[in-house]
Symmetry: C2
Subunit: 151 residues, 2 copies
């Protein structure tokens, strides 16, 4: 999905819900699109944004990220480091991607695997649970940290 499409999605969903397409919201979403980092926290975004826009407050970043999440443009993640992180909810791109979290260096790597196909039926049948979303976190040690530890 192109960057401009995502910004357009924001514009549309905001209009639909009668919210306002403010300068701050554009800037904050753009920071996501510009960033190479996949899993940013509110502080990360704030840092990216405040150089060129010193007038934007941290509270606005928090409020915007929450809004974008409710509009299903972002997903809120938690890697257990005490802060919420966000990623683009690019549902068209990868159907199901998950996270490998290194216990050594804290790096987070993504991987794709559609184990849910088989699981979904089982859960809905046996537990009567209607699935909306899922998150798989796999903890362990990445290649680099395995090397470091074995020396």
């Amino acid at each position: 999905m192109k960057q401009s499409d995502i910004m357009n999605a924001l514009r549309e969903r905001i209009k639909e819900k009668k919210y306002k397409f403010t300068r701050q919201r554009q800037i904050i979403l753009q920071a996501f699109l510009d960033s190479k980092e996949n899993h940013m926290s509110a502080e990360d975004i704030f840092a990216m944004v405040k150089d060129e826009n010193p007038d934007i407050g941290l509270a606005t970043v928090y409020r915007s990220l929450e809004l974008f999440t409710s509009l299903e443009l972002l997903k809120k993640l938690d890697f257990g480091d005490g802060r919420s992180r966000y990623e683009l909810n690019d549902r068209n791109l990868k159907h199901s991607h998950h996270h490998l979290i290194c216990l050594g260096c804290g790096r987070v790597v993504e991987f794709s695997y559609d184990f849910l196909d088989g699981l979904k039926d089982k859960i809905e049948r046996e537990d009567g649970f209607q699935i909306v979303d899922s998150q798989l976190k796999v903890y362990g040690y990445c290649r680099e940290c395995q090397k470091k530890n074995s020396i």
Copy 2:
């Protein structure tokens, strides 16, 4: 695993690491064993404990839970409600159990499914990642909340 076995495991692992088997640590672990609730927060434990032991401080509860987790007696969980929760790390009982989190009522139900068997090789081979543990969270709506919403 019997309750007394878990307490013994605590005693052994504490001795092994030259920590101390204090009254507070026993009481706090016992609270876990006595509780019917599976996923308790530090405050939950503190509430259970403070009636009979008003001298135990919340900080001690936090410190004990962290110790037990490092001794692999407990697992630290996060269901996105802003506080850490813990469960017994009863590895002998269920090999791999995961959590269904209801977006309606917040209830957490456990389910077992060993999808990891197939996944583990793939991750280790393709990503060179050495798996230690994994957590699968499935978000959706439980039976009761589906009924409520459809009325």
